[in-house]
Structures are given as C-alpha cells and as structure tokens.
Point group: C2
Chain length 210, copies 2
Amino acid sequence: MTWHKDNPGARRGYHHGNLREALIEAALNLIREKGPAGFTFAEAARAAGVSPAAPYRHFRDRDALLADVAKRGFEAFTQALTQAWDNGRPNAREAFNRLGAAYLAFASREPAFFSAMFESGLSLADYPDVRTEGDRAFAVLRDACEAVIATLPKDRRPPPLMMALHIWSLSHGIAALFARGDRARRPIPMRPEELLEAAVLIYLDGLGGR
Amino acid sequence: MTWHKDNPGARRGYHHGNLREALIEAALNLIREKGPAGFTFAEAARAAGVSPAAPYRHFRDRDALLADVAKRGFEAFTQALTQAWDNGRPNAREAFNRLGAAYLAFASREPAFFSAMFESGLSLADYPDVRTEGDRAFAVLRDACEAVIATLPKDRRPPPLMMALHIWSLSHGIAALFARGDRARRPIPMRPEELLEAAVLIYLDGLGGR
DNA sequence: TGTACATCAGTGAACGCGCGTTCACTGATGTAC
DNA sequence: TGTACATCAGTGAACGCGCGTTCACTGATGTAC
C-alpha cells in the first residue's frame, strides 16, 4: 500500500485511508532506531503525516499501540516458525534445525518486533491478546519437540514441555545476546545459527538421539 | 534550604555526603519499578532529596548514570558467580550447578541490575567499562566450563568458548524469560533452577559426561 | 592554634522542548429512500 | 438516479506537565601558613 504517503508531491485526502497500519509501521521504525523506550505516540503520528490527535481514533494510548505491535510480532513469528518447521519435512531433525535458524533469523531481521515482544515491559496480564499469540508461537516449538522426541529411544524421552522450554530458552538466549539485529548485539567469533545448531546437537545426543 | 528534607528528623547538611551512591540507589529503585525506560535523571535527583541540577556534579548525563549502574551490576554479578563457583569445589559438576543457580538467582534478586545490564539498550561501544565488566563476568563462566570440560572423555571435549556461549545463552534465556524478578516474568510450572539444571545435565550427557 | 582562602558540592530559578491528551470542529464517505 | 443525512476519521489549537540542562550563586570543607 505505497499509495502516496510522506512523499511531498503526493497529496492525501483529508482521510488517511490506512492510518492504523501506518502508525504500526511508524512504531516499528522508531523502535528499530531507538528501542521500545524511545518511541512516542506523537512521533508516530508525525511519521504517519497526521496530527497528534489522530492516533486516538485507533488506539486508546501508547501502550495499546505497543501491544498491538507485539501481538503482530508474535503472529509473524508464529508464521515464520510454522513455515520453517514445515510439518517436520523431510525429517524431524532437519526440520528442527530449520526451526531454530528461523528463530534467530527473526530476531535478526525484525529487531523491532523482537524487542516489542520480549523487552517492551508490557504487562502480559493487561494485554491477554499478546499473551495468547505468544503461546501460539510457543505451541509451534512444542509440537516440533514432540515430533523430535518420537525419534528418541523410548527410555530417554523427556517431557515435551521441558524440552520445549529448554530449546526456547537456548534459542532466545542466543537471539537476545548474539543474533539480534540492533546495536545491543554482542559480537562473537562464529555464526549464531551454528552456535545454536551445535548446542541442539549436543542436547539431543544427551537424550540418546545419535 | 531547610535543614531536613523529606524525611523529617534526619538532617543533612548543605552537602549530601554521598550523592553519587544515593543516585545509583535511586536509579535502581526506579528501574525496578518501571523498567530502564521509566527512569529519569530528575526523578533520581528527587528521590535522593536533591535539586535537579545536583546530579550533574557526578554524571555527565542520564546515560552515564545508567552505564554506571550497568557496570556495578556486572561487578556484583561477577562476584556472585565467582562465589558460587568457589573454584570448582568440591567438584566441577556440583560447582557448575551452583554457578547456574547463581545466574538465575541474580536475575531474580536484582531485576533492576539485570535489565540495566542486558536490556537498557546502552551502546557497549560508548561505554567500554560496561563491556569490560561484562567480559569479566563471562570469564568466570568460561573458566568454569574449562574445568568441567577437563572431566569429559578426551575425544568429546568441546571448545571452551563454544560451551561457555551455550551455557550462557541457556542460562540467560531462562533468566530473561522465566526467572526474572519483575513483572515481565513468564510463569512456568516448575522452578527455573530445576529447568536449567536438567538442561545442563542433558547437555553434559551429550558430551559423554555421564 | 587561628585564619585566609581555594575548592568542592550543593541551590534554585529559569529556559525551551516535546509529550500526552482534550476539545470543538470539519471534510469525506456511505447509505436510505 | 439524486439527495439528505448519519457517521467516520481526520484537524489544529490548546493545556498542563515533567524533563534535561544552564547559570550565577553560596554554604561547607580542607589546607597552607
């Protein structure tokens, strides 16, 4: 919808047409540049080329906008993970590695979503939608874990929830520390995807999955 | 200038005496309550019972104070980890578990330090001291990994840096998602320390460390 | 020991700024007849 | 098909507020002699 937005020659009617989306887009840009803290309602309005009062037609307040961004982030995240997992094709282990790589790729490609989702300090209790979408993303990982567990020797199979939390924590730690696409990334002398893949390999070996 | 500021009874001279420390203390309280974003220079001054201009005697600006908090956080973190590791006594595996538990305990006990250290969005390039102290904390973990590696079969020993990054990521992921002491914690049906210990056990099993 | 003086660590008033939010309003759009 | 009208989605001016920062200042402290 690149109709004509802030490009000067292009004029826009009295109605924006897609302000809600434009505000979310603006919020993402601001978060990407300055973190979730340095994002203001007023600046988002300005970026969307609209008066400071206009956003109130679409969001109750700043936090509501932020929560919507986080929710959409989780939706996109779920989709990316689902696609990477691809129902465990061609086999669970290979798909599982793709899933991990997708986690890191998301943090790298979408640092603004990532920090809105995990570091914005939103209370999950106040925004149940965000939480629901987050749970959905986790469910993808958990289902994948169940499929991987089925390939393990029967006497070594861990509880799926535990394994999912292990893999999530590991992926999240690598993503947040070393793979994020913003300036808070800490450099390491290897590719984050390789780091994760190696860890998962060792972990699965520990479960007898050689 | 009245003799006693907000706490009646306690009197303070014209000079505060320990303003630098008081400002850091105030910053920690504010961060704990409202996250690293919701901490302002002015409010820290107010909390320390001092005029808004006073902090400039001690810190160049808000970020400098935040960086100092992060640096002290890493110092305390290093100390907590070192103490937990206790030079690998009585044996590397047991001490290693204590080390992991100490990581989580720190995130739980000191959420303000934790988010100043890892989630404040400070540029590590601008504040090399913070980075140096962070590296020092990591070195504790890395040394511990070397000691644990020495207990593994010779043909399964991983590069110490890689193992340290694995364990750090795992611990950090669990801490940031499930063990933190503020309202961003996600509840899970088990103790975070147990979750971490189980993961480390499986990981070490994967390295032949049974 | 007392005193003069330099230095330090605060004050408090002032400033410009941008934010969040409200309000009465108005232009654009959709729809019933 | 045209028209009246309700509704929607904006405007723009205004407000109070707290922040960051500066400035000339002043009270307290340390020290040389």
